[in-house]
Symmetry: C2
Subunit: 379 residues, 2 copies
């Protein structure tokens, strides 16, 4: 069964710590979920994700229905067995991917027709099928099929898209068959607070195991995103997990947690790593920079990840320049470790009642990093 | 200090087991050396290579002098520290890579002028510099700079190239400064047994810590390669390691060992893995094949590698099709494990005096694999 229990609350902010129990173990929230779109966290083994502190990974129904197929994965014993991951799996329904990756989408009341980004083949996906696919995959947490309108968009577009998402949410809820798995509703409404409120209210009325905020981080200014987030999170019930989809830059995590968010996913740590972008306590660095070529220090002096324990920035730069696969591995391992350790720090701080101090320290270190950079640039 | 000691001899063949002691540990021969051209075994960590049974890796002076530079690696504490590998490192001088990868080579008595395959920049490499570069890298075993004539080539070309290689070998020998590292000479002579004999004799006269056979597996028929190998290995002293360069298909290893070879390197297990070619006791399989899409069995039922313990062929096919980096990792891990386990089996069989039986069993399993394939095809 899926259960969510709040265990601690911060005094000064809306930050909270909770336990999310699923058929594949328990995860403490706030939780960052590494992205494993195609049934693999890019460049990492499940053991590495687990050792870095990962408890929940995110897979994608859109990608997996197209390749290798949901029915094939079901026959092979489900996604957990297929990909050798015993922890929690949340699957995204594919709404966002159809919006961003598929071609020639045609949306109707019944569902969405689209062409595969892989081979151009035509597919039709209904809310009912989205749930069926996720049940075949064996996800612990499933997401409703939603329609994502993007940014910028007119109020009218957003409203009609939000209303469609609500009708689809009701159909998803009705289609769910497997009792011990969770289904989350997705609150839409673009950058319009009233629409977000309407969407939240109506989604709550249908009733889900958890509530997600969709349609964020789609090109809007960050301040706008944070305002919408703050407004919308307040509309959600205390006793259900709140998932901010697609958000996961370190500073966003720190802020969203303060607003009361519990779950996050983002390709930034993994995709960034593959592009040589490394996260550190003092801000991010681009390992391709020639200044690192003879740098004997690790990516982050305080980091205890495998990469930082054994390799210099100079070596990582060499691997990146030489296009070695090991570069992607070591970079990804570090970034995922960094983000998961950040989440662990966040949870600990909330439990100890000093989240405000944690945030201050987080920004202080980044500020120090910026000042060092400025000094370097002035030399 | 570098030392080589023969510990066992097979009764029926020329196969032998020995111990090769170096400043970075001891390796038992016959040994397969995974290729780490650019200071990384492609897709693997040093720990993974070691856990798979790897004791010696091969790096390449040509690649490393161009990027990141031998002097930089020296400053960073040498290749072992740079790449976090405590085991033995053998560096190839770059002769073969200049022949196969560099552009606009101009060979003179003094050395070779070439253009980098990376940026077209012009470089000049002498035998003395080749040794100096390998000493800067900190290799345990260095290779003389040789000239590789390729196949087919006239007797005249081969002879003059072989004579140049000999003069360069003398200069390499004289240039070596660091006493506790080993320098190997390379026997050339193309497919001409008399030239191979001449080259072996003259190389022996200069005197090296070990002897390599170069200019093989360059396009000649396999039977010709094996004949030249058999002939040449007989010219080499018993008490020095014999290194067959660039050879490493499973059946070649089994045969070359029987002829008395001790050391091997080959990109086949690693490059093949990245192309979906997996080695098994019953022969190789191409994991891209659609027949594996719902195959729940591991790559090789008897294999104890991480990949075979946890993943199905169906999943590996999916990862390959989806171009996931994890595909390269899991495939490489398996192939390297397979080859290193094969070598371990070879050494054990020689020690136990049943190498003939080992070979028979090796071919029997492959034959069974072929027969299964024939049956499948007939269905």
């Amino acid at each position: 069964m899926f259960k969510f229990k709040l265990t601690e609350r911060d005094n000064l902010t809306s930050a909270r710590v909770g336990l999310m129990c699923t058929p594949h173990g328990t995860a403490e929230t706030p939780v960052f979920m590494p992205v494993g779109t195609q049934a693999a966290v890019k460049a990492l083994t499940p053991e590495e994700v687990c050792e870095a502190g990962g408890r929940v990974i995110l897979a994608n129904a859109y990608h997996l229905m197209l390749r290798p197929g949901a029915e094939l994965i079901r026959k092979m014993g489900g996604l957990h067995r297929f990909m050798h991951w015993d922890g929690v799996i949340l699957t995204d329904s594919g709404g966002f991917q159809i919006y961003s990756q598929a071609r020639l989408r045609k949306i109707s009341e019944e569902g969405v027709q689209f062409r595969s980004h892989l081979d151009g083949s035509t597919h039709f996906l209904t809310p009912e099928m989205a749930v069926e696919i996720q049940e075949k995959l064996g996800a612990d947490i499933m997401m409703c099929l939603d329609e994502c309108a993007g940014y910028p968009a007119s109020r009218k577009e957003i409203e009609s898209s939000m209303q469609l998402t609500l009708r689809w949410a009701g159909r998803c809820r009705a289609a769910k068959k497997i009792l011990d798995r969770a289904l989350f509703g997705i609150v839409q409404g673009g950058m319009y607070p009233e629409l977000r409120s309407q969407s939240a209210e109506a989604t709550l009325e249908i009733g889900f195991d958890g509530y997600a905020l969709g349609g964020l981080s789609v090109g809007e200014p960050k301040s706008m995103m944070m305002e919408v987030l703050e407004h919308t999170l307040q509309q959600l019930p205390e006793d259900r997990p709140r998932y901010v989809m697609g958000v996961g830059a370190p500073e966003d995590l720190v802020e969203c947690v303060a607003l009361g968010a519990d779950m996050f996913d983002c390709v930034l740590p993994t995709r960034g790593a593959r592009n040589g972008l490394l996260l550190t306590r003092r801000g991010k660095i681009s390992i391709k920079n020639a200044r690192y070529q003879d740098d004997e220090s690790p990516v982050d002096e305080q980091c205890q990840c495998y990469t930082c324990r054994h390799y210099s920035r100079g070596y990582l730069r060499h691997l990146y320049q030489a296009k070695e696969i090991l570069a992607m591995r070591l970079n990804t391992l570090h970034n995922v470790y960094y983000i998961l350790e950040l989440m662990q720090g966040i949870r600990l701080a909330i439990r100890q009642g000093n989240y405000a101090e944690f945030r201050r320290e987080f920004y202080n270190l980044r500020q120090e990093g910026l000042e060092e950079e400025a000094k370097r640039a002035a030399l």
